[in-house]
């Protein structure tokens, strides 16, 4: 137990912790993010109902308004949708899928971007020129359009029966591929600086191979900005996924993300069942806003120029 206070003291006095404590907005954002992530991660255990257990669903419960509205049912806090599914439970499960796809897409983007940036910066020459040209061209299209086109092409190219079962990997791939450029550019820039440093030359002199140098020496020193880009990217990736699902080319209603829920609920907006679409929409807004605020804070806190 003698070690614990020292460790805690050091974390508490760290620059990041200090700037975190001084920003109430960030504390709220972090709390909300934590609540969203917690709710999403533990959805199967904390959701009041199981919206995917067909045996328990009853159409008699369909279109039940939120508990506080007239005609509301106390069993369903945020009401039910057209199939009698509890809206709160579908939101928790939907957030789980949205967050999962978003995080996986960011990880894929980062992996692709960091590898290409590292190669581009370290190897240089024609490879560098080619990768950066492709990056330039991709950057002239909006990322969401790239994701939409890749997703559309993949959907048409793959057999129709497999769509529902592979929807998640296809989405992760198309959102991931639309976002690698930023990582690659940043990593390439830092790699160009690092590769002329003495420790890299030393590694070269003692005869380490190219890839070993890239992986063990350069990579750890260029990862800082990648974390910041990644945090900010999570919000964008979640929005992109929600948009594709809303457009009907993302996740199917059998495994709904927040975007799918909004799409399904949108059909009932005119008949007065606003809660089916408004609550998933609010959940999406809270999730994205809090993640974005957290990302902005991290970017500013890690940027020494702004201190």
């Amino acid at each position: 137990m003698a070690v614990a206070p020292g460790w805690w003291r050091r974390a508490w006095d760290h620059d990041l912790a200090w700037s975190f404590r001084r920003s109430p907005v960030t504390i709220v954002a972090a709390a909300l993010t934590l609540a969203c992530v917690g709710g999403a991660a533990f959805a199967p255990w904390i959701a009041p109902h199981d919206p995917f257990d067909l045996a328990r669903l009853s159409l008699n419960d369909a279109f039940s308004p939120p508990a506080w509205a007239s005609g509301g049912n106390a069993r369903y806090l945020l009401g039910t949708d057209d199939q009698g599914r509890d809206v709160l439970s579908t939101i928790l499960h939907g957030a789980r899928i949205s967050l999962g796809v978003g995080l996986a897409a960011v990880a894929f983007s980062a992996l692709l971007g960091v590898s290409l940036g590292l190669l581009s910066g370290y190897v240089g020459g024609r490879l560098d020129a080619f990768i950066m040209r492709v990056a330039d061209i991709q950057l002239s299209f909006p990322a969401i359009l790239i994701a939409l086109l890749v997703d559309g092409v993949a959907r048409v190219a793959l057999p129709r029966e497999t769509h529902d079962s592979i929807a998640i990997p296809v989405l992760i791939f198309s959102i991931g591929i639309s976002g690698w450029v930023q990582y690659a550019r940043t990593v390439r820039g830092s790699t160009l600086v690092e590769k002329n440093r003495e420790y890299v030359q030393a590694a070269r002199v003692i005869g380490r191979g190219r890839f070993a140098i890239m992986l063990h020496h350069v990579l750890p020193n260029v990862m800082g900005p990648v974390l910041v880009i990644g945090t900010i990217h999570v919000g964008t990736a979640i929005i992109t996924e929600a948009t594709l699902s809303f457009l009907g080319v993302g996740l199917p209603p059998t495994q709904p993300s927040l975007g799918t829920l909004i799409r399904v609920g949108n059909d009932f907006l005119f008949s007065g069942e606003w809660w089916i679409t408004v609550f998933p929409g609010l959940a999406l807004i809270v999730l994205v806003l809090s993640v974005n605020l957290l990302g902005d804070w991290l970017r500013d806190a890690l940027n020494p120029k702004l201190r």
């Binding site: 299209f141 086109l149 190219a157 949108n266």
Partner: protein, 327 residues
């Protein structure tokens, strides 16, 4: 100069060829085109005849060259779902998208500049703060949610505005316009706000920062010292100088507006090209997809090329940098 233009043109051509290759591969390798056209009951002789007729026995590159040649003439084959030429389907939908994009761009430009000037001149008023906060929210919300919220408020709760379609349109022969009828104009309001909101906040913040910067310069101080009225200083001296970057950004964002029209059109069931594309993806209508893919790529390539060339013409520093980098 010439080398720069040629290089950019070559790059633009290469992008178009790559997009064309993707579109053509979809066409050629997803499903069997002969089966699509003839159905299951065709005789083997018919199939062979059609295969020869379509040139499907030729090597890949010959077929691709044929595809490019036809695409250059606007020929993308026949929609599998509607059994009509794709080119006429797209031409039919083009006015709806372009009118929506135009109104959204003008709205974003006008409202963005007005709000930007206001928030720069009255920096500390509560209304400026409110506008800035609002624009921050506008940027972080997904487009489709903004559309749904607008529908909920103005169409469902208040019942003031229509929530889907173009209203009545007037057919001008080759162009159907919604500008000439009251219902057409009313139908434009919500979709164009949804589509233009992001660009509006972008322009607002750009104008605000540029204005704040310009207002600090010496020539503004001098203009004030000459006793010019506030209005003359703000609008004739300051605003004019903020407009160059604004125009460039608007130009660059034009492509983004047309791309984001896909989302807005789906929310409002607006009968434009974006909705056509989404439907073609859902029904695996490959010729329509291929045509849209090529068209949207063309929009972007042309816009980027134009902006690049404009930069080059306007900014002499770019020429020196490029020349230095080349040596």
């Amino acid at each position: 100069m010439l080398a720069f233009i040629l290089r950019r043109l070559a790059q633009a051509g290469l992008v178009m060829l790559t997009v064309g290759l993707i579109a053509f591969s979809l066409f050629r390798f997803v499903g069997d085109p002969v089966l699509f056209m003839l159905g299951q009951e065709a005789t083997p002789e018919d199939r062979t005849r059609l295969t020869l007729l379509l040139g499907l026995d030729q090597p890949f590159y010959v077929q691709y060259a044929g595809f490019v040649a036809r695409a250059l003439q606007g020929e993308f084959g026949i929609s599998l779902r509607q059994v009509r030429p794709v080119s006429s389907m797209i031409l039919e939908r083009l006015p709806a998208t372009l009118e929506l994009a135009l109104v959204a761009a003008v709205l974003a430009l006008v409202a963005g500049i007005v709000m930007g000037v206001y928030t720069a001149l009255r920096r500390n008023s509560w209304f400026s703060q409110a506008l800035l906060a609002l624009s921050l929210i506008g940027v972080s919300l997904p487009t489709f949610l903004i559309g749904i919220l607008l529908i909920l408020v103005f169409a469902v709760l208040l019942g003031w505005l229509p929530s889907f379609g173009r209203g009545e349109t007037v057919d001008l022969g080759w162009w159907s316009t919604g500008f000439l009828t009251a219902s057409g104009l009313k139908a434009l309001i919500l979709p164009s706000i949804t589509l233009g909101l992001f660009q509006m906040t972008l322009i607002q913040r750009l104008v605000r920062t540029e204005m704040l910067e310009v207002l600090r310069t010496d020539y503004i101080k001098f203009a004030r010292a000459r006793g010019l009225s506030d209005r003359a200083v703000h609008f004739r001296h300051a605003l004019k100088n903020t407009l160059v970057p604004v125009i460039t950004i608007t130009g660059l964002q034009l492509g983004a507006i047309i791309a984001f029209a896909i989302i807005t059109e789906t929310v409002f069931q607006w009968p434009g090209m974006g909705l056509l594309f989404i439907q073609s993806v859902q029904f695996a209508d490959i010729p329509v997809m291929a045509a849209y893919l090529c068209l949207i790529a063309l929009f972007f390539v042309v816009i980027n090329l134009a902006v690049d060339l404009l930069y080059y013409a306007v900014d002499p520093r770019l020429r020196i940098d490029r020349a230095a980098a080349a040596h």
